[in-house]
């Protein structure tokens, strides 16, 4: 197992190099460059082209593409992710300030959608055809179809303005930073971010569970005189879990993407907000860092999928 994991991680390295190159290329192809955004249009008229060139030289923007790529890569390997072009703050520090907030949000959303989604899906499957099942099926369809920002706004109207149960946005009240005090800020954005995934997991685990309950081994289990809960929750659920775990793993990137929107809606000071700000001002070091980081998350989640599948299904060979 350890071998398997190490091999998977080693296989990441060449992939990351290729991706870093693509990201660098992508940023290169964006119109304009950092200098255009550093200087306001009014100021631009007073600056001579020679001064602009000097600034470009200073920032290293005039070196050949390949040279800049390798300088950038070497810096990254040394842990130097560059500096924000606007504030001059190291990118790594900006990430350190925002990443915990985003992780908090995505992990909470992941937990909600995994637990709630599979619970509702399994209940739905065990009570197939009941009213609860039908209600959940319709709710699932709505959950998959509704745009996140719309759902977020509706939730804000209901829970913040009408019921006045929860704060409108932000991450915590200064001075009240205990876990449970922060929870009321986390609930809404996490639920909204997790909604689509919850609905997806629910529909998928219902189908997977029904499929499993129709298999021959269920009949065998029943013919052994086992109790119904054991038949459903041990034999049925255990097999149904694998495809659901794979689905969750592959949808993880969706959470990361969704966080950009949700952080805007709920004023959540995370990587998503940083990203939007950076794109607006073409702050390339930040954009590259976040892009690189997102890709890394996607790759890591695909490794997690492989590991979880290997744990859940003994038929998966570890070699």
């Amino acid at each position: 197992m350890i071998n398997f994991i190490i091999r998977k991680i080693l296989a990441l390295i060449p992939m990351l190099v290729v991706i870093s190159f693509l990201i660098f290329l992508g940023v290169e192809l964006m119109p304009g460059d950092a200098v255009d955004f550093m200087i306001s249009p009014e100021a631009l008229s007073t600056v001579s082209p020679a001064e602009l060139e000097a600034l470009r030289d200073e920032l290293g923007l005039n070196d050949p593409f390949i040279v800049r790529y390798f300088i950038w890569l070497a810096n990254i390997l040394r842990g130097d992710f560059g500096y924000s072009l606007q504030s001059g703050v190291p990118v790594s520090q900006l990430m350190a300030n925002t990443l915990p907030a985003t992780l908090e949000l995505t992990v909470a959303a992941l937990l909600i959608s995994t637990l709630l989604g599979s619970l509702l899906g399994v209940v739905s499957a065990l009570r197939k055809g009941s009213i609860a099942d039908n209600v959940l099926t319709v709710a699932g369809m709505i959950g998959v179809a509704i745009p996140q920002f719309l759902f977020g706004l509706v939730m804000i109207v209901v829970f913040v303005f009408n019921l006045e149960w929860l704060p409108v946005g932000g991450r915590m009240t200064p001075g009240r930073e205990l876990f449970f005090q922060r929870l009321e800020y986390l609930v809404l954005p996490a639920v909204v971010l997790g909604l689509a995934l919850t609905a997806g997991v629910m529909r998928y685990s219902r189908a997977s569970m029904l499929d499993s309950l129709n298999k021959d081994y269920i009949k065998t289990a029943r013919s052994k005189g086992l109790k119904e809960w054991r038949i459903n929750l041990i034999h049925g659920l255990r097999v149904a879990m694998t495809p659901v775990a794979v689905l969750i793993g592959f949808r993880l990137p969706m959470l990361i993407g969704g966080a950009v929107v949700i952080e805007q809606v709920f004023q959540w000071q995370g990587v998503g907000q940083l990203f939007v700000m950076a794109v607006r001002s073409q702050n390339t070091p930040i954009i590259m860092m976040i892009a690189f980081f997102s890709v890394l998350m996607v790759l890591v989640s695909s490794i997690l999928v492989d590991i979880v599948t290997a744990i859940l299904d003994p038929r998966v060979k570890l070699s």
Binding site: A221, G225, L226, L312
Partner: protein
């Protein structure tokens, strides 16, 4: 011989309700199972063999229902009416596994792929005894040894996919035998296996019948298997037993046109290649549009008007040779004349 009666099925009818249509899968099936004897149920695909087996275990799917009839288990503590027990209630669960166990056609799909064979055997043992996990595992190892699974100490911790088809079926039998059931129901246990393995599995079942004095209900569509395994035979056609009796009675003096046709349609080993094999003419009727009267009438050479009017009753001769046909006496006479000519 009466004392050996362990399970009695009387006039069992089962309907399936699919898409607002009703399929009368079983229409009055009766038979007895006796200790130390094997009853083979033969018949073509769709005649209701599996439904019969599942009805006894109360494993029928939700869309089906036992309409009428009795399934009586003749236990030491008196009779139990199986069809009256709640499907997944405590009593039924006790019967399953302890009194009767079942093995299935495809041992690959019948075992859960994500649990070890040992886990699945222990589960059976622990559901019916107070044994702890360790003791249960030891018992499982013992059972695997008895069923001829090599390296049982190692095998018990392996997953079904690590077993070969034959070994898997042995493991299934080992699991079925875990609580020393009095009845073993085997629904085409060797269809998914190759011929040599098939012979080994049957060998094992014969042995168990002798040593454990078990009653075996063996479902098959293979007359060769019947000749080899059966003490008693019941021939099914479209939800009815059309003929039943001892294996000698059925194989040597078949009296129902369907049984006769069935026997003529299969090659007999050692008779060379010039055998007169005759496929049964016509097609199996659509179960949703069953012919009125005798189900076999549309395909039968002896059919007359009466056959289409109503279902013939069961007639018994030679003590326990049952046949469900209006013309069986005539058919018997014809056959004797034919034999005479030869």
């Amino acid at each position: 011989m009466r004392d050996d009666l362990i399970l009695q099925v009387k006039d069992l009818s089962v309907n399936f309700y699919t898409n607002q249509r009703c399929n009368m899968a079983l229409r009055g099936v009766s038979f007895d199972l006796r200790k130390g004897r094997t009853l083979c149920i033969v018949g073509e695909s769709g005649c209701g063999k599996s439904v019969t087996a599942n009805a006894i275990m109360q494993l029928l799917p939700d869309l089906s229902r036992i309409e009428s009839g009795n399934i009586t288990f003749k236990g030491q503590d008196g009779d139990i009416q199986i069809e009256k027990l709640p499907k997944n209630g405590k009593q039924m669960r006790k019967l399953r596994g302890e009194v009767m166990a079942m093995i299935f056609q495809d041992p690959m799909t019948a075992l859960n792929p994500v649990f070890t064979v040992g886990f699945q055997m222990n589960e059976m043992i622990q559901a019916h005894t107070d044994l702890r996990k360790k003791a249960a595992t030891e018992k499982s190892i013992g059972l695997l040894t008895d069923m001829g699974v090599p390296l049982p100490e190692q095998r018990v911790h392996e997953y079904p996919h690590q077993f070969s088809g034959g070994m898997r079926q042995r493991a299934m039998i080992a699991m079925a035998m875990a609580c020393a059931p009095e009845i073993l129901i085997a629904d085409e246990p060797t269809t998914a296996l190759d011929v040599t393995i098939q012979a080994q599995i049957f060998e094992l079942m014969l042995e168990l019948k002798e040593t454990e004095h078990m009653a075996i209900l063996l479902i098959t569509h293979d007359m060769g298997v019947v000749a080899e395994m059966a003490d008693d035979v019941a021939v099914m056609y479209m939800g009815n037993m059309v003929e039943s009796g001892t294996v000698q009675q059925i194989l040597n003096s078949p009296s129902h046109p369907y049984t006769i046709a069935l026997l003529q349609s299969i090659p007999v080993l050692g008779h060379g290649k010039n055998q007169n094999l005759e496929p049964i003419r016509g097609m199996t009727p659509d179960p949703y549009h069953r012919p009125p009267g005798c189900q076999f009438a549309p395909r039968c050479d002896f059919a007359t008007d009466i056959c289409a009017s109503r279902l013939p009753d069961e007639s018994v001769f030679d003590t326990n040779h049952m046949v469900r046909c209006f013309h069986y006496e005539e058919i018997k006479r014809n056959k004797e004349i034919q034999h005479g000519k030869k």
